[in-house]
Amino acid sequence: MLNDALAELSAEERGATLELTVNNHPGVMSHICGLFSRRAYNLEGIVCLPQGDGATSRMWLRVNENAKLQQVMRQVEKLPDVLALVHHPAEHEIFSLVGRFTA
């Protein structure tokens, strides 16, 4: 019983990463973050960098895998400024690299 409960809990809490390719202009970040805040769904971490000629950016979002994730992903995919979305079921290593600065 306890083990089951623990397994369930860790599944709930498990970190996942969404990796997005987006157009790089002011406002894109608010569009994306708004989809989370509106659903009372916390973004645990954000890393965003321009890529190539700077017309687009790559964005990594660290989230806790939970029931809201599926709906948020579908909403993210609808944004015209989001060009691609990849779901990594685990935390992406970029966060451990960046994590050094908060250690």
Binding site: P26, S30, Q71, R74, Q75, K78, L79, P80
Partner: protein, 563 residues
């Protein structure tokens, strides 16, 4: 090579887009745009009296035609005023392009006079929005805005244009192609085949048509499916008209104010086929008890709707028209005699109305009298409240886009400006507005617009001197502890209408409604009729908010109900 200002380019792009009417109000930050509009030979501007009115007027055009409509507002207060109409369009998936003026780029972020971050404010209530940062971008943004507003699940798009972008000069060799609706294919073929098998195997299926059927122009195919498979068919508020009310398979609206028989049939169904409907809580009641034991087939163009609230047995993501066309040849023709007998019996046992409720002195009677005098050409607009639900319950809607009503947002004040927009878009059709004394006063100022535009709108005020639907909720769920629902002032709407130059009539109890309404409908142009409605007239049945649809309060034959 063309050379012109950004403002002139915007007007040119709108003209090429086929826009012939724009509703709005000018102000400092959109004066260049208005200056350019003055030279347009094909666009008529409709000056409203409040930006919310302009937003809803544009909605009236969009809702009645299915085409994207345009509204203008200036920066700051103009833009914030129009937000409610945009949110309303968002929730009902109405294609709208709203163009707001903004302070010059150099002043953005300085708390300049009439500066409001309308881009930020409109993010959660638009399909997409733009803050234009270079005049050259207009050539891309305008067509794209129309494409987005019209494609997939339609919705509003906002374009915020700083004043210096409107006055900047741009040069270009060719006009871009106008934006247009992008075709979306049918759902996946295997999923459609699976849905066909579920439909064939179901003994007690119910088809539910939502607003998506109307946006997708799919009501004819939906009806074919219903007839081929003998599917009793219910409609959401937004779907009313998708199947004619007098069709033998039509069950009317479902949900909070449905006929008892409809919600009872849903309790028994073994397959719920939702087409362009999104399981709104007003339609489903307490979700876990909605259609208990039924499989779910869900067709929607928006993938994020499928299984959002209720897990679909089969999800059909795609254009509902194409999906239905692909589904039709795969399903078996069935007569489902026993099930149709059950639904017909429920309808006979629990009728929506009784003769004593349909006398002209009572709300249903008024609504049915209007329906009797008008044909299916008429456009029916409502505001929000009891009068809206009464209309949805009994008006015999017979075609898509016949009913224009604020479903998702339920915005009081929607009615009058939307009715004017519909009248301007469809000058050959009579437009009738059922409104309440509360709702009408939320955009009353648009009576002026109705007169100036000679809009053929007949305004029927179902006047109960109260915020009726609120009053009813206090009565039912707060032990009759009434507060803030009864108006102290008995407004003389006829005098007000006359002040705007609108002919008006009082319809006291016992008057000859038939001849009064005939007289009113015979004369083109705006007219207001003030009809007294008893404060105690309630909308029944009613499912308490949050309760299961099987818990219906009130209404005829409530005592017979065992569910």
């Amino acid at each position: 090579m063309y050379e012109m200002t950004g403002a002139r380019a915007i007007i040119g792009l709108l003209e090429r887009q086929g826009i012939d009417t724009i509703a709005g109000i000018p102000g400092g930050a959109n004066l260049p745009l208005y200056d350019a509009l003055r030279d347009s030979r094909t666009i008529r501007h409709v000056l409203c009296r409040h930006e919310q009115g302009a937003g809803f007027l544009a909605q009236g055009i969009a809702r009645s035609t299915g085409q994207a409509a345009v509204c203008f507002a200036t920066s700051g207060p103009g833009a914030t005023n129009i937000l409610t109409a945009i949110a309303d369009a968002y929730l009902d998936s109405i294609p709208l392009v709203c163009i707001t003026g903004q302070v010059p780029t150099s002043l953005i972020g300085t708390d300049a006079f009439q500066e409001v971050d309308i881009y930020g404010l409109s993010i959660p209530i638009t399909k997409h929005n733009y803050l234009v940062r270079s005049a050259d971008d207009l050539l891309r943004i305008l067509p794209e805005a129309f494409t987005l507003a019209l494609s997939g699940r339609p919705g509003p798009v906002l374009i915020d244009v700083p004043k210096d972008i409107q006055t900047a000069t741009i040069r270009f060799a060719r006009w871009p192609e106008p934006g247009c609706r992008r075709e979306v294919p049918a759902a996946d073929g295997e999923a459609i085949a699976q849905a066909a098998r579920l439909i064939d195997a179901a003994e007690r299926p119910i088809l539910c048509l939502g607003g998506g059927i109307i946006h997708g122009g799919a009501s004819d195919l939906a009806r074919e499916l219903a007839e081929k498979c003998s599917l009793p068919t219910t409609m959401t508020l937004m779907g009313l008209g998708a199947m004619p009310a007098d069709h033998p398979l039509a069950l009317g609206m479902l949900g909070m104010h449905a006929a008892r028989s409809t919600n009872m049939a849903l309790q028994e169904c073994d397959l719920f086929i939702a087409a362009g409907a999104r399981f709104d809580d007003r339609a489903t009641g307490k979700l876990v008890e909605f259609c208990p034991g039924a499989g779910i087939v869900h067709m929607d163009i928006d993938a994020s709707e499928v299984s959002k609230l209720k897990t679909a047995t089969v999800g059909l993501v795609g254009d509902v028209r194409h999906t239905l066309a692909a589904l039709l040849p795969l399903v078996r023709r069935r007569s489902r005699g026993a099930w149709r007998h059950t639904t017909a019996m429920l309808r006979r046992m629990y009728p929506m109305t009784l003769p004593e409720a349909t006398v002209p002195e009572r709300p249903y009677g008024l609504i049915l009298k209007v329906a009797e005098l008008l044909d299916e050409e008429a456009v029916v607009v409502t505001d929000v409240g009891k009068h809206q639900m009464w209309t949805a319950q009994v008006y015999p809607f017979s075609r898509p886009r016949q009913l224009l009503t604020s479903g998702g947002l339920g915005t009081m004040g929607f009615g009058l400006p939307t009715a004017i927009g519909a009248a301007l878009a469809m000058p050959q059709r009579p437009v009738v507005l059922f409104t309440g004394d509360g709702s009408l006063q939320m955009n009353l100022q648009e009576l002026a617009t109705a007169v100036e535009q000679r809009a053929n709108v007949k305004i029927l005020v179902m006047n109960n001197r109260s915020l009726g639907l609120v009053r009813q909720q206090q009565r039912l769920f707060y032990n009759e502890r009434h507060i803030a629902c009864d108006f102290q002032l008995d407004v003389d709407f006829c005098t007000i209408a006359r002040g705007y130059g609108i002919p008006s009539f009082n319809a006291p109890a016992g008057c000859d409604l038939d001849s009064l309404l005939r007289q009113v409908f015979a004369v083109p142009g705006p007219c207001l009729v003030n009809v007294l409605v008893g404060r105690e007239e309630e909308v029944y049945p009613m499912v308490p908010p949050g309760a299961a649809n099987s818990e219906m309060l009130g209404g005829f034959y409530a005592e017979r109900c065992t569910c």
